[in-house]
Symmetry: C2
Subunit: 426 residues, 2 copies
């Protein structure tokens, strides 16, 4: 179960004042009539996804999971953040498992790349390479290196069986290579952009290899899809959140800080930064997306949030039940004075930290706080949550009159870089 408490951020009448605009935009999203409408494949995906492909993913993932020490997931941006966020959210940061998932090809760092390659030398590893074109520079370099290492270790024939490509259905370098070599292929749909792709094979395959039930994950998204089709702002928690963001933006807030009290949820904030930052950050507009992990960062950013420049509001992912827990033990001497917490769980203490902080930030700090209360992190809740954010993002961007589905600004540095690298045509 997921609910959103907006009472520390906005008044009910201010939410409802958006109803007409929201009705129009919701119709635009469903009828696919707004800007960027050729990238709205994600809207109905939880209902319409190709069932055969997902069954195949589950089957192949199970084999990979059984037969390898490591799955190397090669991708960047939307081909990286969704799967990583989902796996960490559902498994934790230090879980024990039969297979290790390593993300690769998301950097030009020689340090990171070399250290991962060294680590792989004595591991049995498979590769899931994710790229629409197969020519994204970071992930292409990484794939060249990893493929060469794998072929050297196990030979070309065995390597072919251990490489799974997620790419375009019709064209591109990776599709061609995969066809030539006979890799298993999954489709990265043409009408779904990278940051909206977590429910496609981009997210599903690595998640399934990590032992996650992707069908339940899709079910959660489907539930969200159904609920949010009705734009009634008295009920639609997704659009209520979207209009609150817009209201904040129009009332002198310039930074949305995603907050979690669970370190293994922090990667979701990175996914959110791409989702909202890349969707809205255009035409010199948009909320700057930042993040913090409390209580850790109460000991670093807490002072600023409480008492610094009043530019931010918080969107808190408040998970009520952790994946696992531990009780605070008794100590005879009680020098640390903690016996008053004896027998209490960490979750109990964490909840009080959340409530105490919320009150301090809202009441003393005048920081608007949005609480997204999540009963527990499981596949269905995560699917629901990520779909909620995607749909809220489309609504928010359209409220700003911005196309949520393009990213024209990211081409400039690439052109400069290709020119400096001496790439043909630049």
């Amino acid at each position: 179960m997921i609910n959103i408490d907006l009472s520390n951020a906005i008044k009910e009448k201010d939410i409802l004042s958006y109803q007409k605009k929201v009705n129009l935009i919701n119709k635009m999203i469903i009828d696919k009539t707004g800007e960027g409408n050729d990238f709205l494949g994600w809207v109905d995906w939880p209902t319409n996804y190709p069932k055969d492909e997902v069954s195949n993913i589950v089957r192949v993932a199970h084999k990979i999971r059984k037969n390898y020490d490591v799955l190397l997931v090669i991708g960047i941006g939307g081909s990286y953040l969704g799967a990583r966020s989902a796996i960490e959210a559902l498994k934790g940061l230090r879980y024990k498992d039969d297979i290790e998932i390593i993300f690769f090809g998301q950097t030009f760092s020689g340090t990171y790349t070399k250290q991962v390659l060294d680590y792989l030398k004595d591991k049995r590893f498979a590769i899931n390479v994710i790229s629409k074109s197969g020519t994204t520079t970071e992930s292409s370099i990484a794939f060249r290196l990893a493929k060469a290492l794998l072929e050297k270790k196990v030979g070309k024939k065995e390597a072919r069986k251990a490489i799974i490509a997620t790419t375009d259905i019709e064209k591109g370098a990776l599709l061609q290579l995969s066809t030539n070599e006979g890799y298993i292929k999954y489709v990265l749909p043409r009408d779904i952009g990278g940051r909206y792709s977590v429910f496609t094979p981009v997210g599903l395959f690595p998640m399934a290899v990590a032992g996650i039930d992707v069908l339940k994950f899709l079910e959660g998204a489907k539930k969200a899809q159904k609920e949010f089709a009705n734009p009634d702002l008295k009920k639609n928690i997704c659009y209520r959140y979207a209009v609150t963001r817009d209201f904040m933006y129009n009332h002198k807030k310039s930074v949305e800080m995603y907050v979690t009290y669970e370190p293994h949820m922090s990667q979701i904030s990175e996914w959110l930064k791409q989702l909202f930052g890349e969707s809205e950050g255009k035409n010199k507009l948009g909320l700057f997306p930042a993040s913090a992990t409390f209580s850790t960062d109460l000991h670093s950013l807490g002072q600023f949030v409480q008492d610094g420049t009043p530019l931010l509001f918080e969107t808190i992912l408040n998970v009520q039940k952790p994946l696992c827990d531990v009780k605070i033990p008794h100590d005879d001497k009680n020098l640390d004075g903690l016996n008053y917490l004896e027998g209490k769980t960490m979750a109990y203490v964490n909840d009080k930290a959340y409530k105490g902080t919320l009150s301090a930030h809202v009441n003393e700090g005048n920081v608007p706080c949005i609480s997204i209360n999540i009963s527990e992190m499981n596949e269905a809740n995560l699917g629901y949550l990520l779909y909620l954010f995607m749909r809220a993002c489309a609504m928010s961007a359209y409220l700003l009159n911005i196309n949520p589905f393009n990213q024209p600004g990211v081409e400039i540095y690439k052109k400069n870089m290709f020119h400096l690298l001496g790439k043909k045509g630049y």
Copy 2:
């Protein structure tokens, strides 16, 4: 070697216009006459640090390194961020080593805590517990749990040999416990606050256990201390950086984004967020400190930086030589079109990504960019760099008329939390 290029952010005459103010504040720092002057122990520390204690740290660390699988470092805020940043910066994220360093007690998360405890069950582990008082809630709970596990595993006698406490010299729960039990103790100096403590045993012991040469690290800081004593803005790169931050703040920038092109440098940005955020974020003032790791985050935040709300400037930690590197191999078929990079290193490509991005952000995006160019990450350069930031932070905060050394705002949530937890006196 470290230099700072400010030419993409400010004009020389605007830097020099600060000279008089800078002279006064520098004198305040050296003479310890400003607000918070009882927390200026860090200024001369690289010259005056206790040589015997550091020799002892090196010796003990060497033994721990040889005899254990894991060092559990328990601390939060300033007792956590410095050591972690330094170790990652100097070793990378996936280095192979004789001993593993795990940071613990920086969260109330049951998930994280339980998973780490489970992991430790079949490891030989030592503990470095870091706390001025020994009653910080997060780290005290963690220490209770870890100590109980250790004593259960190896008995009380062996456990005593495996616990090292870094704490106050004169009083507090952790000091008392350490004395009772006969733990090895290191001193957390009274005139140095948490976020300025990386050069004290707080940072040095975990670093030394990780195999880092802490004497070279301190040498680097000493070099910086000497150089930055002279406030001449034509030469003093530390104060040149500090006044540029102030200039940005006074010219409608509200977010400083720390950027690195090496994932293993990202934790430094977390340390910087505490340093600057907690020092300056008072009286409704201060730059909001954010961070990004490029090129990874060019595929997420890049669009916003290039073309979103123009509220930020970048401070880039540009490491010119990675810790290790790899060359891009030849591929006969060249389907990915990368053969034009054949034989080039990742560092070469990363440098072009940096330069191409800098030009795109500065010229097309109108984003001011400060480049801190670091020839390579080694102990001396890191010591120099961290001291530079600490001193720049003191200068920046004093320029805002803010006491850089207190953090009154972090008490409010704690009071609320203790009240909710039913702690006596709240």
